[in-house]
Amino acid sequence: MANVVGTPLKRKEDPRLLTGNGRFSDDIQLPGMLHAAILRSPHAHAHIKKINAEAALKLPQVVAVYTGKDLEGKIGPIPSSWLVPDCNLKEAPQYPLAIDRVRYVGDGVALVIAEDRYAVRDALDLIDVEYEALPAAVRQKEAMQEGAPLVHDDIEHNIALHWKAGEIADEVLESAEVVVRESFYVQRVFPSPIETRAAIGEYNPGSGELTLWCTSQNPHIHRMVLSGVLGISEAKLRVIAPDMGGGFGGKIGVYPDEALIGYAARDLGRPVKWIEQRSEHFTASNAGRDEVIDVELYGQRDGALTAIRVKNTANLGAYLSTMGPGVATIDFGLMITGAYDIPHASCETFGVYTNTTPTDAYRGAGKPEATYQIERIIDLYAREIGMDPVELRRKNFAPKEAFPYTNAQGLIYDSGDYEKPLQKALEIVNYEQLRQEQEEMRKQGKLIGVGISTYVELCGFGPSKVAGAIGFQGGVWENSTVRVHPSGKVTVYSGTSPHGQGHATTFGQIVADKLGIPMDDIELVFSDTRAISMSWGTYGSRSTPVGGAAVAIAADRVVEKAKKIAAHELEAAADDIIFESGIFQVKGVPGQQRTFQEIAKAANMAWNLPEGMEPSLEAQSFFDPENFVYPFGTHIVVVEVDKETGEIQMKRYVCVDDVGRVINPLTAEGQVHGGIAQGVGQALWEGAVYSSEGQLLSGTLMDYTLPKARFFPPIESSFTETPSPVNPLGAKGVGETGTTASIPAVMNAVMDALKPYGVKDIDMPLTPEKVWRVIQEGEGN
């Protein structure tokens, strides 16, 4: 059998999903099921004076209305899971429903339960809440000012955390010949998965077990946190993530909503379903980014970069989300030097409470922001010293020989060869010629821009001791069980929780190669806390490098045991057994063999096992990697800007990514495409707009522009492969590279196109009007 790892197999999941045979949360129908809706605050900041639900309760179909006061003492606050140390972190309690004060538009005020969806919706309109509006703190830098409204009365200046990493001696800064400074705003965006969030609770009063189906990227984290919030043993709380239509980080968080549904199902003794509405998603689901980044890049005239000093002021929203505190600190602040060997670095981060929806990890989580500032400022530096941006990057790359490379903030990059994808991308795009054409076009009055981003990204969260040291309230190892049935068919359990990535395909490929069996003989089980012992879920591009590695190790253990059984049957020493393409044979004795299926049967029947061997053929692994993985690559974008309207057209998008060993080039490319779409979305179209009172103005898909396929040229994607030494697959993460790389690549391209006008920065998203205004001003001058 040919090896399937490295081949572009079509996704195993797709026939089922494309023919409508998926089972998403809203497909779940349980006998006697009730429906829930959450009344949400229309105010960014207000006292709740009175809640009158009488009229709602009079509707014959309405079963219950709960308010924050009703639940006081019954459900605990929802804790953050990333308590970053040494930053004076102040966590304000977030109760599942606001008790006497709402702190953002979308804050839950009442939970309504009714017999059907129509009645529950009607009931929302009948609940009368008397508010006393308060002034709101909306933007982070303003919220830190003296006299700004306080989101939580006891948290001064709304500062949730003040974190620092790295110090730069004055002499280093003073000896620099060049300093380039800029302030970038990486605006707030909404994850916007195609499926909104959902939760369904079912309580069994006999066993005392609560089952919660919910849109979670990490059911075990949900189980761990909610067991505390709801006061129920982990052994009696089962969390299942059904098929999910994307997450992008927005489904990492443990939200008040899931706790409420679990509580109501138990309290009422009937199943309860809640499906988040699309318009609700804009205010009730955690948002991404929202960081103001002030950066200074120091160096010499010849292009040698010596230091980078960064201040990040991050808008954390009204409460600390599950991962929120770690994004603008650890994830961001340790990666500010990017792919460059800049010897000195420092980062200072303020995390600020505001009267907005909390922010959490969103595709890339801190790394896109880190990459954005370094890739943008390095372009400005190149412009300042009159050097080609490619040349400046090359000059400062962490050299191939230096790997494993320790960056200025102390992170150890596992493997890298930054020149390789850069060179390949330059060849594909024909860089020299492109620059000549650009000159020609400029002479004709056309605005062509070329943007480059040579990124490196931290992902594949492991080792757990580091997670502990950085305040993450969990481990980051992964777990897998490979169970071989008597027929030789196999069930593989993995703790990662796919929601569109295609793990059943890629993990199946890993197992198919290890066991020498067809893909069709392998079933994958994910996302059920009863089936999988413990896990930390899918985010931070960790599924393949950590979860996939655990699968590979468990499969190796199966082979190890199977070899012993084969040796016993073939009357040979285990060391003399060769296992290839599903056949065990004795070295040098070709006729003497057993198939994998024969050994599976033998192991399960246990009629004739080696002395002392336990029956069955099954192995479990717990893999805690020694380090993160660091994928890297080069993205090059060519744009044309319409001088008269400011419209931006992407002419070419070339990317060469190095994500270590590629398990499936087709799904990997799919991840790259999706990542790029979301990154370009941030650069060109997406952006939350709040009024100064904290009202969300961009709260529908009529105003908030998600990227669409027709906005893109064909993406010219390819890979180089520099294996990671930190896991047995040699694989790195691929899910977030596109987002991380594309934001600065597109922005650099547009800034390059607008170079004749001398503009250095425009806040994202680059709406045509903003670009047009810059051109108008430039033409005026």
Partner: protein
């Protein structure tokens, strides 16, 4: 996204639809494709007691030539309008505009009559209707009447449609055969509605002078409008790049520019000029 409770009836004939409207005592709403009405209902911005479904009245799906005009039944969908041979032959501007509305699903459901009766300020179709001197054909309690589109649509979502009456069709003037036409649209990247949509038709006589020109714009303000200053500036002239550019500068003269999160009034005014210029260049040069 759940509307309040409503009843549903369907009408087999125009007369029956009018009768049902009378019976509903002002609380009924006519539904055809439902693409404008249903979202409003789901947002609970409109709460009709009864929906009167006219989508099965086949006589409202006809397209026919009447002298110098083309009559398009109210229930003709945008997709059918974009493909209909009579529409393509006689009023290609309408076919072109209809083909650029929303996406395929919307074009399969949305109807010509429903679109104009809804009078969404951001809709595409009013540009073509204004340029083609459309008349709205209305069947009411006292029989049929015709109303020019500019007197029919008087504000955002506001029309002069009398109570208990139904838009049954739209009559478009057939432009002279030598006229070329185009609908040029700047798509709002989120909604797909026009931030500006320019419907333009023009033709030149044997001497090369412009003897026929109609320009209408939509999407920029509360209602669509005819850019008469542009038309008058160019009529009788020989088209040139310079002349078109200068005329297009007047494109926003007759309109009121709206402003929203995506585009300010000032930027919209610029778009009116640039898109009008580009539309006219494409058919005159």
């Amino acid at each position: 996204m759940i509307p309040v409770k409503f009843d549903y009836v369907h009408a087999a004939t125009v007369d029956q639809a009018i009768k049902l409207m009378q019976d509903s005592d002002g609380t009924g709403k006519v539904i055809a494709g439902g693409h404008s009405l249903l979202p409003l209902m789901k947002f609970r911005l409109t709460e009709p007691d009864v929906l009167i479904d006219i989508s099965r009245i086949d006589q409202l799906k006809e397209v026919k030539v009447e002298g110098e005009r083309l009559i398009v039944g109210a229930l003709v969908t945008h997709h059918d309008a974009s493909k209909h041979p009579l529409i393509q032959a006689h009023v290609p501007l309408l076919a072109d505009t209809a083909s650029q509305i929303g996406d395929l699903q919307i074009r399969n459901r949305g109807t010509i009559g429903g679109n104009l009766a809804h009078a969404d300020p951001a809709a595409d179709l009013p540009a073509a209707a204004f340029a083609l001197d459309a008349e709205i054909i209305i069947q009411g309690e006292d029989g049929e009447e015709r109303m020019s589109v500019d007197s029919f649509i008087i504000g955002p979502l506001i029309t002069m449609l009398p109570e208990n009456s139904l838009v049954t069709g739209v009559s478009f003037s057939i432009p002279p055969s030598h006229a070329k036409s185009v609908y040029l649209k700047y798509f709002h990247p989120a909604s797909g509605y026009p931030v500006v949509g320019v419907a333009a038709m023009a033709g030149t006589d044997k001497a090369g002078a412009i003897d026929y020109i109609k320009v209408a714009l939509t999407g920029v303000g509360d209602v669509a409008f005819r850019a008469e200053s542009v038309e008058q500036t160019l009529l009788g002239q020989k088209p040139s790049e310079k002349m078109i550019r200068e005329a297009a500068r007047l494109a926003a003269e007759e309109g009121e520019m709206g402003s929203d999160l995506f585009a300010s009034a000032e930027y919209r005014e610029n778009l009116c000029k640039v898109y009008t210029e580009r539309a006219l260049r494409s058919i005159l040069l």
